[in-house]
Each structure stands twice: as structure tokens, then as C-alpha cells.
Symmetry: C2
Subunit: 398 residues, 2 copies
């Protein structure tokens, strides 16, 4: 890499829909709601948007919407501007922001929009399309491994190597449901107890119902501009800067069949993506330097692995990090103060944009009961594939 | 737009597979063949690639491959580098190149790879998945309009307004099959006569079999670098520069139901995308300034509309442009010297990258029997959606 992205691109507007079972909202409704909230937040005229990126992961999995840029252009009447679509598993929403940020950094565009959206709770072919496909073709899923099944393998191995238990995983669920109870936009807003987690129906041992994030509808939008214009052109005194953004494809599937070096106690993709982002942002000690983080807690075990892969703590120390309260609001490095995927839900294409929107709100001091005091530097992380690709952003207040 | 991309990014390597019914090649085989040809052409060490972009349009439509960056990372062992996937209808392959070029122009990366690939001729769920989906959901296709049906509407209206005939369309088919006969990588390599075209089985009136491009497997790869490094670091004396790249989403579907202003005799997306690219490249008179072009001839009528939408000739003058031989090898502005989608075939994600690869080869004088003499400036165009999105590139020799 020749240059760091650091300081070149600003986030000047955020819009996040309510996440949940949104049967009363179409895909276009979600996109419009998120984008217009971002327009309003930024104070810009929508006509100033020069180009846009849409992140939707699997249009044919759940519905037809989001197959290409025209879905976003039509919903927001962006005609005749350039609108692209990106799709990269569960990093999709962050990828829309990453492409948008590179377009700004390239000088091609001064003001752009990135939207992540996915509507997963309804639409006719759900199940049939995905299931039909998965049964016949996928090298892993065709052998019966679902997402919970894949991550359960890591939990089992992690328990064996580091002596962790289901109770440690439950700490993550309890914390994130507590955070989610404070977030009006979360899918689940009820606190849960450790006992509830441990007594919940098993999904794939050792993961139970409360160890898994839900299936959710939602959208999020960010408006980005050339950093130098945030104050000069858009009169923003407070805004967010992108300090670093890393992406890594690594390790392929959760099996040694495709990757003999695969370790079942962490994700190389996260390790590499965070290394790239830290280098760009000049972060040497993430635990000391980062004030608030959103990480990919698709399952409780994943959040524990993330603490370690992101370098917050050493391998094997993840369970103590959550048990000590370090990752809870008020702790040393609050993680998933939005409620995370566990409580917010995980509309795949939306999640990465939602993460960066939530962190922007933290840096701007807008998070009310769940505000992290004096948050000046934030880390956002997504992981998909499963485990094959990870995206890490470092954000700061101007 | 704040700055032009012009002159910032060089194309230093091209790889294009044979296009056709490639039952003996997997998706990964195609990707590997294209990429390694591009590596060899560029003379770089594959390890120098810093990041990559994959363009595959519809993984769930035909196969599972290409859902995200990991498909490319796995096929080429790019671990742990950043690899993204873009999907934007029939502009998908160009979109991979556009994102890669912006990443270089942003300073984030010095040397990157863009690959377009689609395998459409086999794989189990073909038909069933797409058909099941289309029958139930698509606002146009669910009403029985296929791609040939949609473009036939434009042909019918164009005939009515400008007095064109099926014989005019046949001129495009005959020309592109002639060009394809000279291209060893084209799907179809046989010349055809006007009589054959006119007597061919009808598909959707007024379009017959030879008015439609085929369904094809293929892949293409480009290696891009910061322009200043092409000679300095990679010792290239001859290479290709990106002068401009435009993208426009416009007009939505081919109906006035969604867009009351839709005109059935051209595509606004193409008009806007070319305007953007011309501005960046400083092109004022495309017919005079461009030496060779590849345009989106998914159907013969589309090529005629493209001549007009791209500003080569005025509305209504497209038929004369092809009849006069102006767009044939040896003419004023040879169009689709590769054989175009008509003869090369149209593996959706591959096409845009193939177009830019073919034009690069023209600019470097490597096209043998189909070489355009002294080609110094080239135009590449794709159109998808149908008609909802268009991408235009202007390339030149250094």
C-alpha cells in the first residue's frame, strides 16, 4: 500500500432504521428511511450526492431487491448518477462504505452515499431458494454445516484449548442484550439473565438460542465527503474521520479440508484486516487507544474470538475480558454498545454500515443512555464467509 | 466531480480466456486462466498484487461461485489480501475495473487485479432458480418480458420512428460475426450472411436468432497500476492509460410504468455515462477522436442505439453508420472488432473486463487480422439492467 487513507474522508451524515421484523416496510422503504435520515443529519441537499454504493448481500436468497446499483438509484431517484453494488458476505455493508471512501480519496467524487440494506424476514422464495441451492452445491453446507454449526466447532475447540465454558459465552449474550435494551433501534430490547441463556434451547452444541444473532430486516446509510469539505462546505464543526480501513480474505471455510493451516480458535481474516487498519491509523495498542468498538458477534463465541484476533487481549484471555466487565458500558473498552448483532439483529448487507453509523454516533456523543464518555477513537469490525473475509475500520472524531 | 481520473491509472496486463461452452473448465479454472495470462502479460510477480476485485453478476442464478471476494482469493491464493466483489448487471466486469482503478487513484494501492467471470452454460440449478425467482417477483419479467422481449420493444419503436428495418439489424450481425471469425477467443467464429440472419428462427419479433447474443462461459483479467509506475517499476514502454470512466443509472426498466419519461429509442444511462467519460477524457467529438470501440451488442438493435447514444452519429443515423461500413474493420470507427457480445458471447460478469482487455490489445497493436491501424484512443461500453445502468471507459496508449 502506497498511502494511508487516514484523514482523507469524513463521515458527515448517519441514518439507521429500526432493526427488526419489518413486515410493514418494503426493501425500498428501508433504503429511503435510512438515506433520508442521513441526508437530514448531514444537512446536505440530496442533489449534492455525486455517486452512491449499495451493499446488499444475497438478493436472490431472500428477494429480488438489491441485485445492482439501479435498486438504490430507483429507490432514491439518484438518476442519472453512478450507483454501484458490492457484495462480500457479512462485510457487505462495510464494503459499500470502503468503496465510497476510496472514490472520495481518489478525487473522483467529493460527496457520496453508502447504503447497506437487507430484508430477510419475509418474501416468497425464502428458504426454498437458499435451501435448494445449499443442499446441492455449497462445499460445506451441502455436508450439513449451517452457520451455527460452523461456529459451534470453534466454540468446542476453544473450550478444549482454553478451558472456557458455556457460562463464558453467556456473559457475552447478557452484556449485549443489556446494551441492546438501551438502543431504541435494536431488534431485541429485553435484558436477559445468565440462567436464561444457559437454559435456552440448544441450537448446535455448545451454542444455544441466546448464543445466536437473529434474522432481521434493516438498513443504514452514511454520507461521506472529502475531509477538507466537512467544515468548509458543509459547516460541520463536529464530524467523523476515517483513520484506517482494512479488508482481508483468509482461511476460506471452517475446515482443514480447504486450508490445512486453519486454526479453530480464531480468524486470520480478522487478524490481517485489523493489522492493515491499525497501520493506516497508527494504532499500536488497540486496548489503550480505542475507546469504543463494534465487533461481529454473529455468535457469542465469535465476540470472544474477536477480542483476541483484534489484539484487545491475548489468545485465551477473551473470556476474562468479558467476565471482568471490561467490554461492558463503563468498562475499559466497551464493545457492542448498540447491542451488537445479538440484540440489534443482522440484516447482512446493512450490518457493516450500521456498525459504522453507530460508532459515528458514539464519537459525536449522541448515544444517550449507552453513550461512552469521551469516545474519541472507535473500531468497527465485520466477519463473513464464514471467517473467510473480515473488514476493520478505525474512526475518530475530527 | 472534483478531479478527472485521466492519466492516473495504467493497464499493464491483460488475460482473456477462450469464450464459449466451456464444460471442461470450472469457474475457478476460468479465473485462474485469465489471471495467470494477465500476470504473464504484465511480467509482474503475482505476489506484487496488493488487492483485487471480482465481477460476477449472479452467483445464485447459475452456480454458487463468485458470491464474494473469497471466491477469487481462494482460486488465486490471494490470502490474506483485500478482495471485493461487485455486481451491477451487465456492467459488472467494468465495475470491477472501475473500483480497482479508483483504489489505485486513491493512493491506497499501487498494483491491483480486476477479474470478471461468469459460467452460464451448466450447473444444476440453472433455469430452475432463475425461472422460479423471475416468475414470482420481478416487476417486468413476471409479466412475461424476457431480455429479447424487452429489447424487441425498442426495435419496434425504432423501426416506427426512423424507418429502419430487419435488414438494418442484420448488418450488425453480419459485421460482428465477420469480426468474430477473426478472433480466436470468440464463442462463434463463423461468418454469416444477411440472408441467414433474415431467415433465422424468430425469437421475439422483430429479433431473430442472429439478432441475439449467446449464453456463454468466460473470464477476463486486467492488472492495473499507478500510471507513474508502469515504466519506472514494471519496465513497460507500451501500456494503456485510463482517460475516463463514467457510470450512470438511469431510466429503470423498459417501460413508462416506472419511468414516464422513458424513450423507447435509446438509453439515457449510456448517454450520461458517455458524457461523464468524455468530460474526464477531454473528448469533444467522439467520431473523430476515437479509433476503436467495443459497445454492448446484446442484441443487434442495441448496437445501433449505442452508436447514437454514444454520440458517434445523430438519432436515426445508426442504420446508415453500419450499412456504410463505418463501424466495420477498415471503416472510420470500427466497432466490436472482437466480434462483440454477438460473436464473443456474453458471460455477464466477464464482458466488461473482456471489452477493456480487447481494447487494450488493440491499443498495443496485438490484434493480428483484426487490428485497427494506429489505434490510439478507444471506447468501451456496457449496458445492463436492462437499460438501467451503463458504463463507459475511454482508454489511450501511453
Amino acid at each position: 500500500m502506497s498511502e494511508s487513507i487516514s484523514g482523507k474522508v469524513a463521515i458527515i451524515g448517519v441514518g439507521i432504521t429500526k432493526f427488526g421484523e419489518l413486515f410493514n416496510k418494503s426493501y425500498n422503504d428501508l433504503v429511503v428511511d435510512a438515506a433520508f435520515e442521513a441526508y437530514e443529519d448531514s444537512g446536505i441537499n440530496p442533489e449534492e450526492i455525486e455517486a452512491a454504493w449499495l451493499g446488499t448481500y444475497l438478493p436472490l436468497g431472500w428477494g429480488f431487491d438489491g441485485t445492482g446499483g439501479p435498486s438504490l438509484a430507483e429507490a432514491l431517484d439518484l438518476y442519472p448518477k453512478p450507483v454501484s453494488r458490492v457484495s462480500n458476505y457479512c462485510t457487505t455493508g462495510m464494503e459499500a462504505v470502503r468503496m465510497a471512501a476510496m472514490a472520495v480519496a481518489s478525487g473522483m467524487h467529493d460527496v457520496v452515499l453508502a447504503v447497506g440494506a437487507e430484508k430477510m424476514r419475509e418474501v416468497p422464495p425464502r428458504g426454498s431458494l437458499v435451501a435448494q441451492h445449499i443442499e446441492k452445491l455449497h462445499p460445506m453446507y451441502s455436508k450439513g454445516r449451517t452457520a451455527p454449526g460452523s461456529f459451534a466447532i470453534l466454540a468446542t475447540r476453544y473450550f478444549e484449548e482454553y478451558g472456557a465454558t458455556k457460562e463464558d459465552l453467556a456473559e457475552v449474550a447478557v452484556k449485549n442484550h443489556y446494551h441492546g435494551s438501551l438502543n431504541p433501534r435494536a431488534h431485541f430490547r429485553k435484558e436477559i439473565t445468565k440462567e436464561q441463556v444457559l437454559k435456552a434451547p440448544p441450537v448446535t452444541e455448545p451454542l444455544g438460542l441466546y448464543d445466536c444473532c437473529p434474522t432481521t430486516d434493516g438498513a443504514a446509510a452514511l454520507i461521506l465527503c472529502k475531509a477538507g469539505l466537512a467544515e468548509k462546505r458543509f459547516s460541520k464543526k463536529d464530524y467523523v474521520l476515517i483513520d484506517g480501513m482494512g479488508l482481508s480474505c483468509a482461511t476460506g471455510y471452517i475446515t482443514t479440508a480447504f486450508n490445512p493451516k486453519f486454526k479453530f480458535t480464531g480468524f486470520e481474516a480478522t487478524q490481517h484486516a485489523s493489522k492493515q487498519a491499525y497501520e493506516q491509523a497508527g494504532i499500536e495498542n488497540p486496548l489503550e487507544e480505542i475507546d469504543v468498538a463494534e465487533v461481529h458477534d454473529c455468535f457469542t463465541i465469535t465476540e470472544i474470538l474477536n477480542y483476541e484476533d483484534l489484539g484487545f487481549v491475548k489468545k485465551g484471555e477473551g473470556p476474562d475480558f468479558v467476565k471482568s466487565g471490561s467490554s461492558k458500558l463503563g468498562g475499559q473498552l466497551p464493545v457492542n454498545t448498540s447491542g451488537g448483532l445479538k440484540s440489534c439483529g443482522h440484516p447482512i448487507g446493512a450490518t457493516g454500515a450500521r456498525v459504522l453509523g453507530d460508532l459515528s454516533n458514539q464519537l459525536l456523543g449522541r448515544c444517550g443512555d449507552r453513550q461512552v464518555k469521551n469516545a474519541k477513537k472507535a473500531l468497527g469490525h465485520t466477519l463473513g464467509g464464514p471467517g473467510a473475509v473480515s473488514s476493520v475500520f478505525i474512526l475518530s472524531k475530527n
